[in-house]
């Protein structure tokens, strides 16, 4: 038996550098599979034990002309060995698969950042489409960055050659080649993606093989080609609470939360909706959950969507509807009906930039006034807001709880950012949630439809089909003592008061407001709601680490607000309210508590960066 004496030598390569955290942005044409690439990288990164947050940013046009700047799709991920709260301010790494992607994203790349490009796409034609008069590769434009130019198209086609694909099919594997390279850059395991490809293309194994070959080729390229002493990075595992995790988007977590809430209430979920960006995903997800007795109804319009939900609640299911601002505006009259007849209803508003059509795919949180005040007459209801993708689950459950217990519509505010972004989520156990079963009235003795629970003031819920409880309800004012039509002036005063008091009493049934970070009184409170949670949290953490006296308060219950909020805010010299609107919560806090709240506002369709909020904190505390 021959013994090998050859010594296997590793090629001499520089060592990988350790990073605490990094922000990577994938960008390319909307047909380049950018979102998919980002999703796969997210999964591999989660498996590697990093904490992470992502932000998909895709164009409003379904298929914008190839190579144009408005057809650029991007996906940003921030991951690290420390706690990650946002998808990151400015990218450290930009993967630009065509000139347009470079053009759109270059201004945000950090100085000294890394650019990886597919040089074969930098043709005269593509450069012109992207609006470059000169080729930025080599004309000095990119001197302050590190640029790695690779002919990704050519290398991809070589890698997939054995599988007999057409040129077009072959080029579609470009994203996997790129992903393979990025896996090498950050030392990620490819297996997650290989398994996924095998499953996705189970019926076309040649496509699975080709994509895997492209993935491996990209990885091997990093492994073998010397890229100017570039050796990739290591990002260590973060300290994360133990348990079973998954990635979850806001839309998924919200769908599951609404279903979980319905189950805890012992009710079947009815979801009436009309397609609108970015809210439609909820309808898509819930329509796949029919086996859980979920009925989904794609209505003829926004009004019919909420009306059918009201009809379902009237008949004993839990009616829900969803939309974005303009659609919610259309639902307003029906919301008034649900308030007047006091039926449970959940409305999820995935906010987007407005007014009118505005920027459907860009995020904003400018529907707070609409949610709290935006109806004719005195029409109070409850409003809650989710602060992150995973938080949507708990907020969904809370919305259902309030709706059922108080026989009221509840508006849930989320936004385009939360709905689309995903984060690793410690999967909760349903055993940890106490049920809150809905009670249907069945006893005819002393019944009338507006008989109220003494404590919650919720009216009795008697559903059609119940013998002896036949009754009529409607939008006309009801007599307090019989539920019959009443135009009596004093009665209207009494009914208006009781509707307001019922909503106000919810404040007795929600947790007192806590301070997320920092002390319970001091020089500055930064108060937020919704998806500003991440950047505020990061900014306050940085400021606290530097010894600044600042606290972070984040609201889930926006109406009614927690009982102690006024007292809590009065313990701070200054109150700063960062919002992606022109100052809506600021106004509400001022009017409710007479606190000198100041706004930090922006509406450019993008989430706050940590730096923006941190600067505002330092402005107030360091001057």
């Amino acid at each position: 038996m021959a013994t090998s004496t050859a010594v296997k030598l590793d090629p001499v390569k520089p060592a990988r550098r350790d990073l605490e955290s990094v922000v990577v942005r994938f960008a390319g044409d909307s047909g380049d599979g950018i979102q998919l690439t980002g999703g796969q990288f997210t999964q591999a990164t989660a498996v590697a034990g990093n904490d992470l947050a992502t932000f998909p940013d895709f164009p409003a046009e379904i298929r914008a002309p190839v190579g144009t700047t408005f057809g650029v799709s991007a996906f940003q991920i921030n991951f690290g060995s420390r706690g990650i709260l946002t998808s990151g301010d400015r990218p450290d790494v930009l993967i630009a698969l065509n000139p347009a992607a470079l053009k759109v994203n270059i201004s945000e790349l950090k100085p000294g950042g890394l650019i990886i490009t597919d040089v074969s796409t930098f043709s005269e034609r593509n450069l012109a489409k992207a609006g470059f008069s000169e080729n930025p590769l080599g004309d000095g434009t990119l001197d302050k960055f590190k640029v790695i130019e690779i002919d990704i198209s050519k290398l991809t086609l070589e890698a997939v050659k054995p599988f007999g694909l057409t040129n077009k099919e072959g080029l579609r594997c470009k994203n996997l080649w790129t992903l393979g390279l990025i896996y090498w850059v950050y030392n990620r395991d490819r297996q997650v993606t290989i398994d996924w490809l095998n499953q996705k293309f189970a019926k076309r194994p040649e496509l699975a093989q080709a994509n895997i070959a492209a993935l491996n080729a990209g990885h091997a390229y990093g492994e073998t080609v010397e890229m100017d002493d570039f050796a990739g990075f290591t990002v260590g595992a973060a300290e994360i609470a133990p348990g079973v995790y998954r990635n979850v988007s806001g839309a998924e977590a919200m769908s599951w939360g609404l279903l979980a809430g319905s189950q805890l209430a012992g009710l079947k979920l009815f979801f009436g909706s009309y397609p609108i960006t970015p809210a439609s995903t909820l309808l898509h997800i819930l329509s796949t959950l029919k086996q859980y007795d979920v009925t989904t109804f794609q209505a003829e319009d926004e009004i019919a969507a909420i009306c059918a939900a009201i009809g379902a609640s009237y008949a004993g299911q839990l009616g829900m509807t969803s939309s974005s601002g303009p659609g919610v505006a259309l639902k307003t009259e029906a919301l008034g009906l649900a308030i007047g007849v006091e039926l449970p209803l959940v409305l999820v508003n995935s906010q987007r930039a407005g007014p009118s059509t505005g920027m459907p795919t860009k995020t904003e949180q400018s529907d707070l006034y609409q949610a709290v005040f935006g109806r004719n007459a005195d029409s109070p209801l409850a409003v809650v807001a989710a602060r992150s993708p995973g938080d949507c689950f708990d907020v969904g459950i809370e919305a259902v709880r309030i709706a059922v217990k108080y026989m009221t519509p509840v508006i849930v505010l989320t936004d385009g950012y939360i709905a689309n972004a995903s984060e690793p989520w410690l999967i909760p156990s349903m055993d940890d949630f106490a049920p809150f079963p809905a009670e249907f009235r069945t006893d005819p003795e002393g019944f009338h439809p507006f008989l109220r629970d003494e404590k919650t003031l919720a009216r009795a819920w008697a559903v059609p089909g119940t013998p002896g409880l036949e009754h009529r309800i409607g939008g006309i004012e009801k007599d307090y003592d019989s539920g019959n039509i009443s135009y009596d002036p004093d009665n209207h005063q009494k009914m208006t008061d009781v509707r307001a008091e019922k909503i106000a009493r919810i404040a007795d049934d929600i947790p007192e407001q806590t301070v997320d970070q920092g002390s319970a009184s001091g020089r500055l409170a930064v108060v937020g709601w919704g998806s500003t949670y991440g950047p505020i949290s990061g900014a306050v953490a940085n400021a606290c680490a530097d010894g600044l006296d600042v606290a972070h308060i984040h609201l889930r219950h926006l109406w009614p607000m927690p009982r102690n909020l006024g007292d809590l805010l009065s313990g701070f010299e200054q109150v700063l309210v960062p919002e992606m609107n022109t100052g809506q919560l600021r106004t509400v806090l001022r009017s409710e508590y007479l606190v000198p709240a100041e706004g930090l506002n922006k509406v450019n369709g993008k989430p706050f960066t940590i730096a923006e909020i941190e600067d505002a904190i330092r402005d107030r505390l360091e001057k």
Partner: protein, 342 residues
Amino acid sequence: MNAPTVIEKLTPKDFASDQELRWCPGCGDYAIIKSVHKALADLGATKENTVFISGIGCAARFPYYMSTYGFHTIHGRAPAIATGVKLANPDLDVWVVSGDGDAMSIGGNHLLHCIRRNVDLQFLLFNNEIYGLTKGQYSPTSKVGTRSPSTPMGSVENPISATHFALGAGARFVARGIDTQQKVLPGVLERAHAHRGMSFVEIFQNCIVYNDGVFDDFTDRKSADDTQIHVEHGKPLIFGKDRNRGLRLKPGALELEVATIGEDGIGESDIMVHDETNRMLATMLTDMPRPEFPVALGVLYCDPADTYEQGVVSQIDDAKAKTPPAALNDLLRRGYTWTVSA
């Protein structure tokens, strides 16, 4: 030993609520509600299983005067709310009561979709060709030239035909009746009730205050035999005081004409027999101009098809059969997960 429960059949009066009717004296709605009470009693309806849903308008007060379940909702939206009720509980017997403004104007879109989806409910359109509750403006069914507070020089809009609209939207049951015909109307309502699917019934209703007598040209009892034709499936389309006039296809044209039996060699066999499953015929019957033609009343069209809620419920049943619902804990853990150890 269990004593057999005797369910007493309810009388028409049992379906009236304790609320005082507040339509104008002489309003056609009084007659209609009587016919509805009678129809419900005749068909053995129960109060607990019956739901009346309405939008806004004079007709929309209807649910308050019924002793069944009732929901007086918002303008034009009753079909959408009724769709939700029916999806949530297909066993309920749902009636929607609407007027020409509520159904054909502000609620036209919902009505269209309720019809095409074939939601199993009875839709009663009280058509008086005027807005009553808002004090007399012209409606989408008002004739050209209708003078009203908002059209002092007469309306210049073409009216819509409610039944033609319903047929165009794909209705599987279309019928017409007259408010005061209390011998005939309950039978039409019972047919509507028996039909599985969306039953569209137009009831010509006289608004005594704002549009009095608008249908007199064909509802007047004295001339009714000559101005009305009560259609019945399988029977010849004959009308007239002397029962000698009938409808036939005009030779060489795709249109109806009135023919007189015994004239020009026309016999009874030349008269068309009503086929309520013939959509084309129903459309022609609904479009007959007066006074050249009589107004067709009764069940113009009835051709049942699968209902919407059947389809929705069977998909839910199929989904359960295919993938029995896992516990929510399992649903949350479906797909790619990973474990972080302590």
